[in-house]
Symmetry: C2
Subunit: 522 residues, 2 copies
């Protein structure tokens, strides 16, 4: 790819960004679109439809951007819930990392790379290959590589600091929200599966007998899961929702192995009442286990198959290969604009297109996996969507030896159009997004792990580059960096992860004072 | 190695076995040795010292072998505990696997291998290389390889059946023993570490306040850990043993995260009273964590370093290389007996010698790892000692392409002298071994996993061999075998492993009837 192709790509993205910004500015003001752009306010009766026509309605304005940033964190939390809040923090975190990496890359590393003379590229500035701006152009063994070395350490340090800060902050919010929120029915309830029904007895009797015997002081009541069969009879499904007098009682039943046979009396967290996904209640332990394994295989295959579009994208950046494969295209490909669009913009477009197929596929697969809750099904999808970048990142690593570290970081940390998304996200959350389920920000640990993975990948690449560039000392001295990063990760997971798994027995003394979380609308 | 070298090794081992058997038979009857051979009976007053001299005392007899097998399982359990019982089952299990593998290998595979003509070895029978008895000698592409293929499936099936049977049997014994044993003080107690002491308060007050608040109905009492410092003052260690009114109460405190900060109020199982290892009570969360990491690195290094003796052993079996390295030994090495001992017996002797260094090293390392219990320290050692064979097995895999599957199995499953050990083990357990600690057979899952690992390794090797032998169909059809084995393992771990981690809330209806476990002597 040459510089002008990159600039073309930047120009197309900026142009599209401006176009969507303008369209959004105008469309949102049209009375007919109110239900599209502010459905929450319409539902809450805060917006009246059908205002009078005025010219201002046809002009793009930017006032809504300011407004979108006005709500405080507390307002945001109570309006949209912790999940949306954590989602926002994730974007802001990415923006911080991207800005810091971008500044170091653009103002320190790229100039240093450009001053090198390793590659002989005599084209004029506009037609210079991007390689001339990459670390490839720094002379082998040059002491300037130590600046890249320092950049890797500084960048890692800053990212880890930000990660720690976010993890701690989100953890504290999660605990505060849990204790300040109204008690929810599903906190008092566990789902019990694999109920062994003695011959001649019923499921209800078995559950009653078991929990009165082993949880006498906390057991409240139960409700056996039934379903209509095709003959419209109620069938005896061996699963039940068991309720306890206290949240603590439910937590005990959840954490202590109940049955002598670990495949019986399995307790799991009850989903929120409107979050129950019924089809999987009839499935046995073995069937669920097999379907989970099957879906795991499908996941893995999909990840591998995803290398195909990545390969296509890689091919596009090598225009000469394309010419060899399709000689009849030669004429068109030689047109400057066409080649710039093809090598600069098309690859990211194709990748985005293929990425958009991933979420529906994942939802389909996760629904096969036997979850009894829509939320957890979607949450799993979310987990996978986050590391979905992994194959892409890995594939890009092929090309990375010829790219500056900062550019690589930009690829890893900033999906295209992130600034646009950050700007519009609060508006969407407050006026469109109606939170139905609340995981309490449980996806943050995934974001954390993915970032650590990207850092380690960067270190490995850096070690490789320093080795190739005849600076083995720098390669050796970079080695502690991934080790320290992994230790940092290990510490963070010990320190914060349990908070995202279960809630502690201790109630923080400040809990009763804060009241920051929304109550879900059932 | 040639056949006569193998036979020499067998002869030496048998000779030594007979020698030790005779020595044991005579020595055990000498009155002066009573405290060595039956110290338990002496301690219990069941044996009187100083009998009259008679000739029988100087003759080797075998009656004790029969006697050693006389006690029933129940007697054995109540005398020596579940750990010793599981240890015995482990030996018997190994013996079963070894016998089955040995029969298939000796009477089916070895004859088939010998009938092949792939290797041209014109030596007379006695000087034939062992390769002539290995799968290497089967002709490439021969249909006889399908017998090896079937053997792999049959052997895996039998081993998996035995594994399942043992796992289920030991699980049931473990549960029965737990419920029939007298309640032990450490079942009612948890160790609490990382106690945050508010300024102006004491550790005792903090513990009292916390557990009266969050476990009001089950909390009984506590005892803060103190230690003498060099000035003989009692110091305020932030750890305490907290006792509960019921086992269930202690289990709740153990399983539910206590503090808002997961590095505070950490609960763990209390060791048995006489099993406490005090030095590590003063160590902080971070220090323990770092020392654990350090020991992990040491473990890994040791495993890698262990390849050195394995390399030496491998070298010894190639006598010609030894001649090249030390030409002055040529004369001696050419002596038939010397070469047979060196290639046949010496390798296993050297390996045994190096293996004997492992346990003390492991005990040293595990004592650095921050355990507060001798038992758990030793248990960890046990875990590592079991997979200690892994590097050996892997190293032997180098040579394995030239050996029959059955021989490989014999290496993996049967340590030398196993028959001898099995015979003497009950005598030792009943008359010498005084159980001090009881893990309730917690090491069985490790034995299970190691066996599965060996099976998978065998499958991988088999696939490789079938590939090399130009029978790709057999290689392909072997592929499902490791997958099925892993699925079987996954099922077993789901079904039985939780029983070895924690005890369930449910009490089996038969529990009160059986009474099979010993009470430990404090």
């Amino acid at each position: 790819m040459i510089l002008s192709a990159l600039l073309t790509s930047v120009a197309i993205n900026l142009g599209l960004c401006l176009l969507f910004f303008t369209l959004y500015s105008i469309l949102r003001k049209q009375p007919g679109n109110i239900t599209v752009y502010v459905p929450r306010l319409v539902a809450d009766g805060k917006v009246e439809e059908g205002r009078q026509f005025n010219l201002e309605r046809l002009l793009p304005t930017a006032g809504w951007v300011k407004k979108a940033w006005e709500p405080t964190e507390e307002e945001f939390l109570s309006n949209s819930g912790l999940d949306a809040f954590v989602f926002m923090r994730m974007f802001v975190f990415s923006l911080k990392v991207f800005t810091f990496g971008g500044i170091i890359g653009m103002f320190v590393l790229v100039p240093i790379n450009y001053l090198g003379s390793q590659l002989t590229d005599d084209s004029d500035f506009q037609h210079k290959s991007l390689d001339s701006f990459s670390i490839s152009n720094v002379n082998n063994g040059s002491n300037r590589l130590w600046i890249h070395f320092s950049a890797a350490y500084i960048f890692t340090g800053v990212v880890c600091y930000l990660l720690y800060y976010e993890y701690r902050y989100i953890s504290s919010k999660r605990i505060a929200c849990f204790y300040s929120s109204d008690p929810q029915p599903h906190h008092f309830t566990v789902l019990v599966r694999g109920i062994p029904i003695p011959p001649g007895s019923t499921c209800a009797a078995a559950v009653e007998r078991f929990f009165t015997e082993y949880h006498p002081s906390t057991y409240l009541s139960h409700s056996v899961v039934r379903r209509n069969n095709k003959l419209h009879n109620l069938i005896e499904v061996p699963a039940a929702f068991v309720s306890f007098k206290t949240r603590f009682g439910a937590a005990i039943a959840l954490h202590i192995q109940e049955g002598v046979d670990p495949t019986q009396w399995i307790t799991e967290e009850a989903p929120e009442p409107h979050d129950v996904y019924w089809p999987f209640f009839t499935v046995s332990f073995l069937k669920r286990w097999i379907s989970k394994l099957g879906v795991f295989v499908a996941y893995t295959s999909l990840t591998i198959l995803f290398l195909i579009p990545v390969g296509i994208v890689q091919g596009l950046t090598h225009l000469d290969q394309l010419e060899t494969l399709f000689p009849f295209l030669k004429g068109i490909l030689r047109l400057s604009v066409v080649s710039q669009v093809i090598t600069g913009y098309l690859p990211s477009l194709i990748l985005q297109l293929f990425l958009s197929f991933v979420p529906p596929t994942m939802i389909m697969l996760s629904s096969l996996q036997g979850y009894i809750s829509w939320r957890s099904a979607l949450y799993r999808v979310n987990i996978f969507l986050e590391p979905k970048g992994i194959p892409r990142v890995l594939a890009e690593a092929h090309a990375v030896m010829r790219r500056p570290v900062a550019e690589q970081l930009a690829i890893t940390t900033a999906p295209s159009g992130i600034a646009e998304r950050v700007t519009t996200a609060p508006a969407e959350f407050l006026k469109v997004y109606v939170p139905k389920f609340e995981t309490g920000g449980e996806f943050w640990p995934t974001v954390h792990t993915s970032t650590i993975f990207s850092l380690i990948l960067m270190h490995v690449i850096a070690i490789g580059i320093f080795g190739l560039k005849n600076l083995p000392l720098a390669a050796g001295l970079t080695l502690p960096l991934p080790i320290l990063t992994l230790l940092f990760n290990e510490y963070c997971q010990k320190r914060f992860l349990p908070i995202f798994k279960h809630f502690p027995a201790e109630v923080p003394s400040s809990a009763s004072k804060s009241s920051c979380c929304l109550s879900l609308q059932s």
